[in-house]
Structures are given as structure tokens and as C-alpha cells.
Subunit: 260 residues, 2 copies
């Protein structure tokens, strides 16, 4: 994929930061020494972590140079480095591995999550939040639009572009981590974001889920795809009683603690 | 119904208090003066409210004398009174009406919620949390068990005992309150509670959702119903990878603010 666009990503910063804060609030640690923020993006989650644990060494990791540059400008006092959560291993065992809105981009969760959990220091915590919205109209309509237009060949298999089949049920994450963890908490929250209009929903997903659909397209295909997708969103999210659109956005949360 | 059993209700206090705390954390008020805690039960939510807003006048309301007695013993410094949220009106307009796990017992939400919202002082907040678990196996199996045994006649219509049809979709609550509110936040969280065994799930719902099914039964019918229901729960909640049962428990949250 092309590199991320930090400006577009931070446009809905308040809504995107809330799950990061709610995940952090559930981390049962008092004085962690070493913390990694996987997929730190432009640093909004890293800032939250540093505010809650001011005495900890906090290191933000991301694959995107643009995101890392944005994070460094925002938080010059913290450390950031380029790394891929799929293969990353720390030199020292961390007390907290925090992965907000990143692991949904990686395959093979029944292997990935136990691997990350195994990197923790004794008593350490793995804290994960992932969007779980592939069954929502926002994402179903991406896949339907992908296969119904002159852009279909360029996009290829919509299920692949849409990362279908990667996420487990909440109980599936429980099964993967419960035999390893001393304490385990799994929950799923569907936020309902009040959006001004259908275009705002398109803007929201343009920065994330829509990228694998748009990246392979030339400018003309991209304009055609976006117009067709916007029309589908307009119909798929009918106006509510106050004229706004309501974007239901489910997310899965996992907090797993290693035995001390 | 028979009066509530505070001892049984508080058995899962930690799990029941978490949604109360998460609802309170989202109340966007700095210095409320007058707060009502509707359906305060044994006072766990009232204690949270008083801790966050120590300068406010906090009044707990409940229909149950046993719950009110339990709350008064626990929190001798706070005020508690008997009242029914369905018909209650305050003498002075409150800054916060907080209703945790109570409105699901009352009918006609499209009328009830605007009525409660209308009681607020300018700038005031209505904060509501309701279990939304009628489609979960725990509650579906109550209704199925009710109609398949010698107890069926005594229970009557399982849909009525199970309060089917009272809850709206999250978007439905949005539609009811959005035209009135200056700010409105609706979300739905499914907690996944780790339970020791199927019996623990039966114990959990015995204090709440199972009561309208058990109340009309004589001791023999009650024993028969409970045995059949326990067997259904045993099959409906298969053991997870660590041998435990996972009780998915969805709850709807609403925070609506009046214009100042």
C-alpha cells in the first residue's frame, strides 16, 4: 500500500482516541517500566500512555515513515522506531504491549496473539483493540462496490482487499489466550458515531479500510469507485430523526495479564 | 414480583458495577448540584456517583424496601427514598438523572426517555444503562424452558415474562432523544464474563431476569424449572479452552445532555 496520510487519519481524532483511552483505562498495572505502543500511528495513543505512566519508558512503533514523522513532531520527548508488529521482538521484555487499532491488519491471530503475549515480562499485560466492522454496511458496501464496476479487475478479490476472515469472535480470542493468561478480559463495544452526512462516513473509512480498494486504482477508476461507493453509503445509512447519519462502529478489546 | 434479594444481587457486584462506572465516566459534568440515582438498588452505583461528585446532593431512589434498607446501611450519609421511575417527578430539576440497569424493567421507552430527559435542569444530563441480553442464550433459554414443562401454565406467556419487545435498537434510542438533546452519545458493549460453570450463570440471572419466571411458581414447579433451565444453560454455554463458560452480556448506554 501507499504510505498512510496522517492528516486524513487525524481528522476523526476524538472518535478514534476514545477506544484507545478506554483500552488503556482497563490495563491493571501500577508502575510499568517498559511499554511498547504497536502501530502508534501519529502518536495519539502514545501520548495517552505517557500521560498515564509518566515514569515508564514508552516506545512507539509503526511501519509508516509518515506516521512516525508525525508522531515525533507531536511528542519530541518520546522514542519512536520503525517496526512491523508481525515480526517484531523487543530486546528487553516489556511490562505492557499496547496494540490499538493495528493487529486487524495482520493475519493469523491464533498464532500472532500468543506470540505477542509470550514476549511479556512476568506480570506484564497485552492490551489490544481492533475494529470489528467488516460486517457493517460501511465495509460490506466496499466489497459490493468493488466487484460492480470497471475497477473490478484492478481491485481483484474483494474479500482479500477487505481482509475478510482475519478476525475471530470475542470467544475465539478468549480461547486463544485463556490457557496462557493469569487474567483475561474480552469485550466488544459498538460505538454509534453521529456523522453530518454520508460523505463524512466515506471520509472516515478513506483513511483506513478503503485504502486497499483505492490504492490499486488509477485516478479515473478511483473517482468512479468513490462515486459509486458514496451513493451506496448514502442509501445504506438512512438519515436519523435529526437528519444525521449514525455510523455503528464495533471494536473488540482484549486485556491479558501474564502471571507474576 | 416478590421483593428483591440484595445478597443474591450483590454476589456478582464487581461485574455489575463496571458498567455503572463506565456510564458515570462518560457524564460530561463538572459540578452538578442535584443528582438522582434511579433504581439505586443496594447503593453500589450511588456510592460511585457520590465519590465522583462529593459536593453534589445525591438521592437514591428504588421501588424495593429491601434494596433501600441495604443501601441505607451501606451509605448512611446519603439520602434514599422509595419511588418508581415510571411515574417519578422531582420537586427541583436535577443536573443529572442517572439510571443504571433499571429502565429495562419499564415499558414504552419512546415516551419514558423523553419524559425523564424533560425533567432535567438546563445543561443537565440523562445517563442510562440497560442490559440488552434478551437475544442471548441465557434469556432465550428461559423462554424456551418456560413453555416446555408442568410450570408452563403458571408462568403464562414467556414473551411477557421475558419482557420481549421493550428494548429499542441503539439507533432507536438515538432517534428518540436526538431531536431534544444538545449532545447525545449511544453505545453498546458486550462484556464477556468468565464464569466458573453453568451453575454460576444460573445464579447470575436468578437475581434479575429469571425472577418473573420463578415468582409465580410453587416450590416444586420452581425446582423443576430450575433443573431444566440449568441443563439448557449447560448445553447452551459450552466449555471454553480453559474449561470455563463465557457469558456474553450486551448492555446499551445512553448519555444525553440538555442545552444550557
Amino acid at each position: 500500500m501507499a504510505d498512510w496520510n496522517p492528516a486524513l487519519y487525524t481528522r476523526f481524532e476524538e472518535e478514534r482516541t476514545r477506544p484507545a483511552a478506554e483500552l488503556l483505562a482497563r490495563v491493571p498495572l501500577e508502575k510499568p517500566r517498559l511499554i511498547y505502543d504497536l502501530g502508534c500511528g501519529p502518536g495519539n495513543s502514545t501520548a495517552l500512555i505517557a500521560a498515564r505512566f509518566p515514569d515508564a519508558e514508552v516506545i512507539g512503533l509503526d511501519t509508516s515513515p509518515a506516521m512516525l514523522e508525525s508522531a515525533r513532531q507531536r511528542l519530541p520527548g518520546l522514542a519512536f522506531a520503525q517496526a512491523d508488529a508481525a515480526t517484531w521482538s523487543p530486546e528487553r521484555a516489556p511490562d505492557l504491549i499496547y496494540a490499538n487499532a493495528v493487529l486487524q491488519w495482520l493475519p493469523d491471530h491464533p498464532v500472532l496473539l500468543p506470540r505477542l503475549f509470550g514476549l511479556l515480562a512476568p506480570g506484564g499485560v497485552l492490551a489490544v483493540q481492533m475494529p470489528d466492522n467488516l460486517a457493517e454496511p460501511s465495509h460490506r458496501l466496499m466489497r459490493e462496490t468493488a466487484s460492480a464496476g470497471s475497477w473490478a479487475g484492478a481491485i481483484g478479490d474483494p474479500a482479500l482487499a477487505g481482509r475478510l476472515g482475519r478476525m475471530l469472535e470475542p470467544a475465539g480470542y478468549y480461547d486463544v489466550l485463556a490457557p496462557l493468561a493469569a487474567a483475561l478480559d474480552v469485550w466488544r463495544t459498538a460505538y454509534h458515531h453521529r456523522m453530518a452526512d454520508a460523505e463524512a462516513i466515506v471520509d472516515w473509512v478513506s483513511a483506513t479500510g478503503l485504502r486497499p480498494f483505492l490504492d490499486p486504482l488509477d485516478p479515473e477508476q478511483r473517482a468512479g469507485f468513490l462515486a459509486a461507493y458514496a451513493a451506496a453509503i448514502e442509501a445504506g445509512y438512512p438519515a436519523r430523526a435529526d437528519g444525521r447519519r449514525l455510523l455503528a462502529f464495533p471494536r473488540v478489546f482484549i486485556v491479558a495479564r501474564r502471571a507474576p
